[in-house]
């Protein structure tokens, strides 16, 4: 069932040339003047004319779901902040110090969608930050950007300097001290903070620890960040892409947003809006595409608008659903719709970052599993026993299987450890072990025959052509 696209131009990628709307050769960094000249800050101006709670209400109504991986409703998250009291004359009590932590620690393997936004259209993110800060009454925002994103950090820093110079941020108040629906201007400070290269700092509470200058070890919840987050203060953590959606939602209204994407077919919450999908692996034209949620993976891969088919005309074997911690789709799941229902419908953890890595028929799934295990072993923070020790052991076991040294019972042991490591969330403090487990478990379950061949003594090496991350 191909997904009919209503899009005639990009929304998030309005200023970033992307297929099928424009040739990426025309990409460039959009500065302040170009940004404002092309409809920038309209959403923010509209937001400032409203009361903060009205902005939140609009975002809630749009049912925008977080684009960082978990898909938690953004507006709902904002309402978890402590309430301010508003008296009869409309005067608000002081909300006190709160923080916005922008999660720009895009470290999930196979995922490179936020990077596109930060590479070329940084002011979109900054406008989103301003809207979120106003709606949530947050005076301070930190953009926590992945350490390896040197270039993107520089782009952001330059854009931020521009935004300060033009009066978007700073003590005079948002947009040069514009009067807001609160009856006064609202000032926001924004900073870029660079990570030091640990995957775990993309976990929201690990990110907060790292921002505080500590080891990026995820925190025990409760308390949740909206109550006690950065420096012990109420904190909202939102992904770059999520925030970048805010200007267009406020500009065009929630109803407009809800016309894109799909409702759930299994009775869950809807998957509205467009999504950046970064496709990698064995396809003819890998890259970031802005699609409406619900597009089938097959369409994304085979359409001439997008990836233009499997590389070398090979057969589809499977795909990582959206970042490796989501697990893999099997050969019979090529038609899976890329929306937030994917987890429950296709036995993966979820949509994740919606950045699939596609495998062709020649891919050695044992090598894929071993490579994934290696990643999680390397990135486990060491806080919880099952992940700290289990991830290393899983990697050893996968290496043994790949090398043909393992026995059949080792496969069952691997699944058993995967179970104690985190088949059920809660087994560890954060979801890293969970991701490791889902990846390994879905690969073994969906490609068990490949593993069984390896553990037999009559082992014949299979040609290895792993896509992304063949560094193994």
């Amino acid at each position: 069932m191909p997904h009919p696209s209503n899009l005639t131009q990009g929304i998030l990628t309005k200023r970033i040339p992307c297929w099928p709307f424009a040739d990426p050769k025309g990409r460039h960094i959009v500065g302040w003047d170009e940004y404002t000249a092309t409809g920038g800050h309209v959403g923010l101006r509209k937001a400032l004319a409203l009361k903060p709670d009205e902005v939140t209400e609009e975002v809630k109504k749009s049912q925008l779901r977080g684009r960082g991986g978990a898909g938690f409703p953004c507006g709902l998250k904002w309402t978890f902040l402590p309430k301010v009291t508003i008296d009869a004359s409309g005067k608000e009590s002081n909300a006190g110090q709160r923080y916005l932590a922008v999660n720009a620690d895009e470290s999930e393997p196979c995922t490179f969608k936020d990077r596109l936004l930060m590479d070329f259209d940084p002011h979109l993110l900054l406008e989103g930050i301003a809207i979120c800060c106003y709606a949530c009454r947050i005076p301070t925002a930190y953009i926590f950007i992945r350490g390896e994103y040197h270039h993107q950090a520089k782009v952001l820093e330059k854009a931020l300097a521009e935004a300060y110079a033009k009066g978007l941020f700073g003590k005079q108040g948002l947009l040069g001290g514009s009067m807001t629906g609160k009856g006064e201007s609202f000032a926001v400070d924004c900073y870029v903070h660079r990570g030091a290269g640990a995957y775990i700092c993309g976990e929201e509470t690990g990110l907060l620890e790292a921002l505080e200058g500590k080891r990026g070890w995820p925190r025990i919840k409760p308390p949740f960040p909206a109550i006690k987050g950065l420096f012990g203060k109420p904190t909202i953590i939102n992904n770059v892409e999520t925030l970048s959606h805010l200007p267009s939602i406020i500009e065009n209204g929630a109803d407009w947003f809800c016309k894109q994407g799909v409702t759930s077919t299994i009775g869950g919450p809807p998957s509205f809006g467009t999504k950046l999908m970064g496709v990698s692996g064995h396809v003819n034209r890998p890259g970031v595409y802005e699609c409406e949620l619900g597009i089938p993976l097959r369409t994304l891969v085979e359409s001439k608008d997008y990836c233009q088919g499997m590389r070398g005309g090979k057969k589809f074997k499977g795909a990582i659903a959206g970042g490796i911690s989501m697990g893999v789709l099997g050969p019979d799941q090529f038609d899976a719709e890329m929306d937030f229902d994917i987890g429950r419908k296709y036995n993966v953890l979820g949509l994740g970052t919606a950045c699939p890595t596609v495998f062709d028929e020649d891919t050695d799934m044992v090598a894929v599993a071993r490579n994934i295990a290696r990643f999680f072993k390397h990135e486990s923070c060491g806080q919880c026993t099952p992940c700290r020790e289990g991830s290393g052991w899983l990697y050893q076991l996968m290496s043994r299987i790949e090398g043909g040294e393992a026995k059949t019972k080792d496969l069952d042991l691997a699944l058993e450890v995967a179970t104690s490591m985190g088949s059920m969330p809660g087994t560890t403090i954060c979801g890293l072990a969970d991701g490791n487990n889902w990846a390994i478990r879905t690969i073994i379950n969906k490609f068990r025959d490949e593993f069984e061949k390896r553990v037999k003594p009559t082992f014949v090496p299979v040609k290895m052509t792993v896509g992304a991350g063949a560094r193994g």
Partner: protein, 915 residues
Amino acid sequence: MSATDRTTATINGNVVDVRRGDTILAAASRAGIEIPTLCAGEGMESEGGCRMCLVEIDGQRVQAACHTPITPGMNVRTATPHLKGMRHDLLALMLSTQPKDACFPDAKGTKFERLLAEYGVVEPTFGNHGTHTALDESHPYLRFDRDKCITCRLCLNACEQIQGQFVYAIEGRGGRSRLVFGATERFADSGCVSCGACVMECPTGAITDRDRIEIAPSRAPLHAAGKAVSREHVQPDLAADSVCGYCGVGCRVHIEAKDGVVLRINGVEGAAVNDGHLCVKGRYAHGYQRSSERLTTPLLRDASGTLRPATWDEAINFTARRLVELRDTFGPDALGTMTSSRSTNEAAYLLQKLFRSIIGTNNTDCCARICHSSTAVALGMTTGTGAATASYVDLDETGLIVLSGSNPTEAHPVIGARIKQAVLRGAALIVIDPRSIEMAHYAAVHLQLWPGTNVPLFNALAKVLIEEDLYDKAYVASRCEGFEEFKSFLAAQSLDDLSRLTRVPVELIRKAAHIIAKRGPGLFTSGLGLSEQTQGVGSVMAFSNLGLLTGAIGKHGSGMLPLRGQNNVQGNADMGSQPYSLTGYMKLGDPAVQSRLESIWGKAPPPEAGKTIPEMFNAAIEGKLKAMWIQGEDVVQSDPNTEHVKKALSSLDLLIVQEIFMTETAEIAHVVFPAAAVLEQEGTFTNGERRIQHVRPAVPPPGIARPDWEVIRDVGIAMKGLGSRWKYDSPSDVMDELAKVVPHLFGGVSYERLSGDGLQWPCPSPDHPGTRTLHTDTFVRGKGLFMSVDYSPPMDRLSREFPLVLITGRVLDHYNVGTMTRRTPSARIVDRDVLELHAEDAARLGIADGSRVRVKSRWGQTIAPARISRRVMPGTSFLTFHFPETGCNLVVGPNCDPTSKCPDYKVVAVELTPV
């Protein structure tokens, strides 16, 4: 059975109460349901790392019991086959990180080993992939075996949340994460203060006490890798709850012994003073007890002038006979005594009673003279009681601590840790000290004043509080007197002048005053830095003015909290060891007291005040004092002006010394009684918060050494006369008499009531619970008295010849003159006294770090190695007095506070020259 109402939940079918803020683990533990853990510590924040405590909850995912709040109606299962399987795998994973045989299932072993046994983890299912690393035995008290470490981080959390030292960290991540000691590779080089809190928590035996294994009689064969592994589980044959014998904090200790040797000392969990915590001295420095240098038999000086062993009968009869002879020949005032602040209340009481009644003199004093006498005198004058008005528990409740002249993280480590935790929790701290002590780094403001200028600094703070209208007017009006006079006295002073004297900028003084006003009322905690000065009494009075101004005295969470030096210095003074007042601070010559004492003692003491220690020394040199009984103190080493002290003691016809070691004082004595040490006798100690606690023996004294109180009793009996009435079978009998002598303070105190945390005096009746806070409704003297104290400069003036100030004091690892701690492995941590001086002075004087320096004052000189340090400010220096080789007190002169006679150890004018 299920819990459906709003206040209960169900765990394994048992209905349990739901209390706000409780985790599932806490609720289960209260209900007696054990959930295995490897990273949860009592009273510490949830770590949540080991994941052993995972439980199943209806309608929820698997959760860790240690950090999941229990909610009403929850149905929890803690031991399903699935959970057991997960725990088995977790243990197997942990075991497989270790090299072979580092830990193994053992039902009697460490917590980890017991769990391995319980879950049947016989072999590491996942193979041993840990590599063997060498044992770190660099530290004298602690050893670290990395092979056994499972990175549970209990040590790290104990270090941070109990001691506040932050020694440990985790390095690397994932499977490579490992415990490190800061940036150092060896334990000994770390910032460890050897408190042992981590050892108490370690579940695997990775961090252990060295003494526990070394003393264990049965040693295990050496491990193949060359490690000593204690396979035998050494069980103590005797355990006693007692009180630590070092500083005045008075931590409760649990002593375990085997075959008459101390096996280990732990803090008593839940104790009011220390709640299980101890410091390096209390926990580890017990090796002196079995030192071969202990005195084991009485010694008498023979005709040839040498001390020879004697029997108890000989020694006691000789002493009694000579005391009677000298009393009858030269009169009672020719005899004097110094009771010991290290010994028990019972011993101090009996010794002063012997001198006051059998002999008939008030020449009874104690070492408090040279430490907190100024505090006792000053607080006595301003409040009516010369003791702490607050309790340690107030540290946990206060929002402000003003710390002056006290270095608690070294001198009172358990209280130091408690103050640190209070500050980490958010209490404001103001440090007033010439040195940049550790607590100064935790302070909101550090007022680094010039030594000896406490009075102008406190006056300046009071002036700001009054002039900016920041004081508690209602409290001052209703509960205090002398305020108007004080106010006009301060009005006449200029803040700039005061600032110039103290060398503290006016802005900093104002800032501190504002914090005191905003965050108070708080605790005013002081140490010997205030009292051991020529203006000691004045300093404490000026400090107490601040307590009165802010309305701090007489309330919970605030008040005056001087930290006392010795384990029983408070008790010793309470017992009457001062020449100008009687037992329980009762007035000399008061007819009611006279008649009560006459009926109990048989004779009332003379109404005239006796001599203080310095006066007794002077009298001895003048030939007016003929005999002294010095109980448990090495005055030659600890008192100032060493040569003068030696001369005084040598002039005596009879010097009796009760000691545990042959100290420099004992060497001059005519009679030496070998004493039982703190671990070897029964009695009571009173700590710095007036808490009387029961001391119990755990090991026998060496040789025929005996507890002090028994020897004094026997001498009393042998002196005949009143002594014939001395019928005490146990220290408990002495306490019962004390209760009758001072009913208003001790009337309700008896040994039966001293189990557990003891009693804080005043405790006037058997049903009285003791007193946490003094002066709650009215001051003991009626009203709190403001004292207008004007600055008088230290007597030891700086001059061209002696241009630098020397401050003397202590370090963490040693106690006073080191008699005890020098005979323990602590001597390996700190093996000499060191002179700290500032880099500026060092450069000017040509002194290199580590080089030897001659320290010369008007009174004497010594040589010590230099350490260039930022802890002291230019123009000042600091020297410890723990080692007799240094003889620090040769340099300290006879200057003392004119009222309290407390010597000035803190401001000595010296000249420093490179040797």
